[in-house]
């Protein structure tokens, strides 16, 4: 078999604007879809639970990547925005009596609004200074959530009722299984929406701001509007992830939304690949799978290397840190780039390029 194609050549604007360019790309997409549908029958409830947390993380990571990877605004405030989404949806559905789909929608809107507000410093700050300002927003939101007794009626956490959609309550036996379909559906929609966002004028203006914001304003991009919209859109995604977390885990506590979580999400998009939607998905899976896989490994090696099992929490943190460092040093463009290189290798084989 010789190499068949030397690259993708477009002969019309229509073909260039298509979302999927090649047949093999379409084929892979169908295969991935089939895999997603088959997955819940292939794994046990424990791993399905982990898959569900990955699905939620995908929504959040895609949102963060819109802000950091596509608009170039560094944010350490992810955890705070997750908290806003989780508390909004939990309170509106619990105390407000709103149906859950509506309360989730409200969570998206409220988080988008608050995200836009905390994006205001971005109008004057860039890079490192902006990162520190968003760190402040994380600490301030978390402080409010912790100290405002009204939120949790003074008990420190919120109980959320088992999810009920239009009078149908999720049965206990098929809890993970049912949630899988909900989360997978939401995650797929979120990914498709994000992929399409970057074919619109708004999405393109995000990228223009990332590449050079002064140059972008010179060609007529409204910087204020674009930066605030980027914060709002990204926070909307994050709010959705927060709302899903609230209803899936059925408790909301501030401990789930600390700076560590913000850092975890940043690690996802770094490991997956900045400025790529697929990368956010790979990264979310990688970072969420790392701790349980290490736990399995430690269990397996317990007879020969007991140290690994004894020090598991520390080992998990170390592996997390090492993963970030190694990716930045050796493949700064992340898993997405590795996947592209693997595809190129197969496509051009036996030639090198």
């Amino acid at each position: 078999m010789a190499a068949t194609a030397t690259g993708i050549h477009h002969t019309s604007y229509r073909s260039e604007l298509r979302l999927r360019h090649t047949n093999s790309e379409k084929l892979r997409l169908w295969l991935a879809l089939a895999g997603l549908i088959a997955l819940p029958w292939l794994v046990n409830p424990y791993w399905l639970g982990i898959v569900n947390t990955i699905g939620i993380a995908v929504v959040g990571a895609v949102g963060l990547n819109i802000l950091v990877g596509f608009t170039g605004q560094i944010s350490l405030g992810q955890g705070g925005f997750l908290a806003v989404g989780a508390f909004t949806s939990a309170l509106l559905s619990g105390r407000g009596g709103l149906p859950v789909p509506l309360s989730m929608l409200a969570a998206v809107l409220v988080t988008a609004g608050i995200g836009g507000f905390f994006g205001l410093p971005a109008l004057r700050l860039k890079g490192l200074y902006l990162a520190i300002a968003t760190l402040a927003s994380q600490e301030i939101i978390l402080f409010v959530v912790r100290r405002w007794d009204w939120l949790t009626s003074g008990q420190g956490f919120l109980d959320v009722d088992r999810l009920t959609i239009f009078g149908w309550k999720i049965p206990r036996v098929s809890f993970e299984f049912t949630w899988y379909w909900i989360i997978a559906g939401v995650a797929v929609l979120a990914v498709i929406a994000a992929r399409n966002l970057f074919r619109t004028a708004l999405g393109r203006s995000f990228m223009a701001v990332r590449d050079q914001d002064i140059a972008a304003s010179a060609i007529g991009v409204d910087l204020t509007r674009t930066k605030l919209m980027a914060f709002a859109v990204s926070s909307g995604y994050v709010g959705l992830a927060g709302a899903l977390t609230a209803h899936y885990t059925e408790t909301v506590t501030w401990e789930r939304f600390t700076l560590t979580v913000s850092i975890q999400y940043l690690a996802m998009i770094i490991v997956g690949g900045l400025g790529s939607i697929a990368g956010a998905v790979y990264g979310a899976a990688f970072i969420m799978l790392l701790p349980p896989l290490l736990a399995e490994l430690a269990d397996l090696l317990r007879p020969s290397v007991p140290l690994l099992a004894d020090q598991l929490p520390a080992v998990q943190v170390a592996a997390f840190g090492l993963a970030i460092m190694l990716f930045l040093l050796f493949e700064p463009r992340g898993l997405n780039r590795i996947w592209q290189r693997a595809k190129d290798y197969v496509r051009f084989w036996p030639f090198r390029y």
């Binding site: 200074y129 940043l266 930045l328």
Partner: protein, 289 residues
């Protein structure tokens, strides 16, 4: 009145240690324009290095300090060479994240070696307290303020008059121009990291002495950010002003409402950034396309 004096002394002592931690941060930013999110872990490692030399190996404290200083400097150089140097000239997000990864690794290393239980350290600083205007003020805090003042003055003098200090300022100002002058920029980078680790060691051992030594030292690393924003990311005198201000503000806030000290520094940070985006003493950078 006596409570006010006591709060002020505690605030100044915390602020002095904060200024030391912030000094390491500013040294690195000034010379290499890297924001070091692992500064809190540097404090932690500094504290444990001294603890190991002093308690585990049972060295006299003077020698333990010297051993700790040498180990910290070596650690700084190694980290710069292995982790930071390959990323020179990369985007801010990459540099931030690599120091965050570094922080995770350093923290888990300490946890693996020493566990999570806090450790008591025999006092090195004088214990007991003195009466100042009716308030009883512990001596170890006053000594800590004194030590921090001496170290900060020494560093300021170093930048002002010593050959290496001037070279570091030159590198911070313009790397290419410094290279043309024959300044070994790479060596300056390594030196900045070594000095940051050293100042963190001093801060860490002061903290370990006035409180106890545990993973909580990391928390001090995050409060460094309000301090440096207040003072400006690239100003050494700014760290002193910033450190003392934040130390005092959070002590006073804590006395009004317990727990407020966690958030007040960040509120101050946001307010300052809204008025002066480059901090009170920071250098305004002009950007050209």
């Amino acid at each position: 009145m006596s409570e006010f004096v006591q709060l002020t002394v505690y605030g100044l002592a915390n602020g002095a240690v904060l200024a030391l931690a912030a000094l390491g941060f500013v040294l690195i930013y000034k010379a290499t324009s890297v924001i070091n999110f692992a500064q809190g872990e540097f404090l932690l490692i500094g504290g444990y290095l001294f603890y190991t030399a002093f308690v585990v190996f049972g060295l006299p404290w003077t020698i333990a300090v010297v051993v700790g200083l040498i180990a910290a400097a070596l650690l700084g150089v190694v980290i710069e060479r292995l982790v930071l140097r390959p990323l020179i000239g990369e985007e801010p997000i990459a540099v931030i994240m690599v120091t965050i990864g570094l922080a995770a690794v350093l923290r888990s290393l300490v946890q693996m070696l020493y566990g999570t239980t806090p450790r008591e350290m025999p006092d090195v600083l004088p214990s007991g307290s003195v009466e100042v205007i009716g308030a009883s003020v512990p001596l170890d805090r006053i000594t800590a303020i004194g030590i921090a003042a001496v170290v900060l003055t020494a560093f300021s003098a170093f930048f002002r008059w010593s050959r290496h200090g001037i070279a570091m300022r030159a590198v911070a100002d313009d790397q290419q121009a410094a290279l043309v002058q024959g300044i070994p920029v790479h060596r300056i980078f390594a030196m900045a990291w070594a000095m940051a680790a050293v100042s963190a060691l001093i801060g860490g051992l002061l903290l370990a002495d006035i409180t106890e030594i545990s993973q909580n030292l990391i928390g001090f690393g995050l409060i460094v950010f309000p301090v440096v924003i207040l003072g400006g990311l690239d100003s050494v005198p700014g760290t002193i002003v910033g450190g003392l201000t934040i130390g005092l503000i959070s002590q006073y806030a804590e006395s009004f409402s317990p727990g407020a000290s966690q958030v007040v520094p960040y509120v101050a940070l946001v307010l300052i950034l809204l008025v002066r985006p480059y901090g009170l003493f920071g250098q305004v950078r002009i950007e050209r396309v």
